[in-house]
């Protein structure tokens, strides 16, 4: 799954908004993983308020010249293509002056620096972009029309990844059950109650993901309710790793490659790919129809 961003997000976005030439050029190398993709959305000052981003793109003949900084860019050091959102009309209201580009990462104007996270590893990167060049033909969805294209990418991220991640939860839950038995805690009523609840939540996560997939197949694209799955997954995965820490007892103080690592890594679950708070806003406004704050 090295090309997870290309498969789950880049490909679907090109299919939904790309030109025929873009589909012809990009879809096959995404499927074969010959070209890895990354996502240049977040910036140091633009996290949840993504549309406030400052990376600038200025037209120069048949090309655009891009300068700015991106952060939390998974796979950037291995990527050929970056789904990049940049500001192309600074005078327009913030959602209307953005354009969605496919940026070739193989140029000197793009510097990739690893970002060390609380687990000690570096899954993510920072991108420093200094007058990078992107052909005009690499715009997806039209000039100054980047916001709806970005939303397509994010909907696919939340629906698609939540689907894959719920499978990981099922696996982790089985591993945790084995751990509980090994540590002689299988008869502890509190552990049993928490495990019972986790089992139920993991089933609900799985069933909701299948219902979401059915809805996507009928409608052709994932809807805002995919946000629900991603938010729920974060809660369940965090609860699972928290129980694992309690089961480990004093061993939970020690660095290892399974539970203490997973516990620390899971802290990001409710932040990455849209914070739980932003996902609740999306559900409240776009599914329930509540007024914007």
């Amino acid at each position: 799954m090295a090309n997870v961003l290309g498969l789950a997000m880049g490909g679907p976005t090109v299919i939904a908004h790309g030109t025929d030439a873009q589909k012809e050029r990009h879809l096959a190398p995404i499927l074969s993983a010959e070209e890895i993709w990354c996502q240049g959305f977040s910036e140091p000052d633009s996290g949840s308020d993504l549309a406030s981003l400052k990376t600038r793109a200025v037209r120069d003949g048949d090309e655009w010249v891009v300068t700015g900084q991106k952060v939390w860019t998974t796979m950037a050091h291995q990527s050929k293509w970056c789904m990049l959102i940049a500001r192309t009309d600074p005078e327009a209201p913030k959602h209307r002056g953005l354009t969605y580009f496919l940026m070739d990462m193989e140029q000197d104007a793009v510097e990739v620096r690893p970002l060390v996270q609380i687990t000690g590893e570096a899954e993510f990167n920072e991108l420093f972009i200094e007058e990078a060049r992107i052909p005009h033909a690499n715009i997806v969805g039209g000039e100054n029309n980047g916001w709806p294209v970005a939303i397509t990418t994010l909907m696919h991220e939340r629906a698609g990844l939540a689907f894959a991640l719920q499978v990981q939860v099922q696996i982790a839950l089985r591993e945790l059950m084995a751990e509980v038995r090994e540590r002689g805690q299988a008869e502890d009523p509190i552990v049993r109650d928490r495990l019972g609840q986790l089992y139920i939540e993991a089933q609900v996560l799985r069933l909701n993901a299948f219902r979401g997939l059915t809805a996507t197949m009928k409608r052709g694209a994932p809807g805002p309710e995919g946000s629900l799955g991603k938010w729920h997954w974060a809660e369940v995965n965090q609860a699972l790793t928290e129980l694992a820490m309690d089961v480990a007892g004093p061993h939970a103080q020690l660095v290892d490659q399974t539970w203490t690592y997973r516990f620390l890594r899971a802290r990001a679950n409710s932040i990455e790919g849209g914070t739980t708070e932003i996902l609740k806003n999306i559900v409240a406004e776009r599914v329930l129809g509540l007024p914007r704050g």
Binding site: G196, E201, L207, N208, K280, N281, V287, L288, G293
Partner: protein, 321 residues
């Protein structure tokens, strides 16, 4: 792969919702709950009988568990005060015991919780108007009797009448009743899904219209996020309920686990969603004249009927750990 109701099931759902909405308007539910001596009318029962609803669990003209659950959910959404679900519960147990004929054209009730005295059962819904009573014993078996006495036992939920029942035993039901008990659990869970969905709809509508500080309260995240949480729990409970209903008919080896998951999750969801809906409404929903308390009381009563979330989670752990 299709994780949605079929066209026929959607039609059943829509028809049930429309029918129940027209017969059980909020003022009628209130009148039945607070003023009608029995809590339902002969005309209402006759109309349901005409639709064939009491017979839905009969093995010969019965529908599948999924279809049953579709209607149970809508009965919860309408908060319809009716002895229909009690009749179904008795009917499911009698069908499993090969005794369906005893209920033909009559009403039933199911007694689950033995009281302190021998031969006494507490909190039995609709026993006062039942012709046939199924007594579940703690070991999982059951007997059926028509010879029993009842005494009203006021419950927290006025839309469903409870009774203390005294019976000196009955005729044992033969056969394996475990699937019937699981169908009953899932039916109750489905009702809680409907109750929760109704409370959520009321809360969301109120949050759009109620203004404080010059704006709709639903524009405040302190209000909108609990509403989003309601959707998560209602939809999650619905997924678990339909999974369990499907499993009981098509993947029986998964039935006991899925039924426990569904009732545990839906019990908690129904109780939490209705409590949260009351908080979103604020003071108005704490008044007797507002309808939300009927939903809250039904959800709370359901969470404590038939099997509580805690004991069902223990069953999930026993089946999986």
């Amino acid at each position: 792969m299709n994780f949605d109701l079929s066209e026929d099931q959607h039609t059943i759902k829509r028809t049930a919702r429309e029918f129940l909405a027209s017969r059980y308007k909020p003022e009628e539910v209130r009148r039945l709950a607070l003023e009608d001596e029995r809590g339902w009318t002969d005309a209402q029962w006759a109309e349901m009988a005409e639709l064939g609803w009491p017979q839905l669990v009969h093995p010969e003209h019965g529908l599948g568990t999924v279809e049953l659950v579709v209607v149970a959910e809508e009965l919860g959404y309408a908060l319809a005060p009716t002895p229909l679900q009690s009749t179904w519960m008795a009917g499911l147990a009698l069908a499993a015991g090969g005794q369906s004929a005893r209920l033909e054209g009559r009403r039933g009730a199911l007694a689950v919780w033995p009281g302190d005295a021998p031969g006494e059962w507490i909190a039995v819904p609709d026993a006062g108007t039942a012709d046939v009573l199924v007594l579940r014993d703690p070991g999982g078996g059951a007997s059926v009797t028509e010879d029993f006495s009842v005494e009203p036992a006021p419950g927290i939920d006025p839309t469903r009448r409870l009774f203390t029942v005294r019976a000196s035993g009955g005729e044992p039901l033969e056969g394996d009743l475990s699937r019937a008990w699981d169908q009953i659990l899932v039916m109750s869970a489905a009702e809680s899904v409907g109750v929760g969905e109704r409370a959520m709809h009321m809360a969301v509508a109120y949050a759009k219209e109620r203004k404080q500080f010059g704006r709709a309260i639903g524009s405040f995240q302190a209000v909108s996020h609990p509403c989003a949480q309601m959707l998560l729990e209602v939809e999650g409970a619905r997924s678990a309920v339909y999974w369990a209903a499907w499993a009981l008919d098509f993947e029986p080896e998964t039935g006991p686990l899925a039924a426990a998951c569904a009732k545990a999750y839906a019990s908690d969801a129904g109780a939490r969603v209705t409590r949260s809906a009351m908080q979103v409404h604020g003071g108005i929903a704490f008044t007797w004249e507002h309808d939300l308390h009927f939903l809250l009381k039904r959800a709370e009563a359901n969470a404590h009927a038939l099997g509580e979330a805690r004991s069902l989670r223990a069953r999930v752990a026993a089946l999986t750990l």
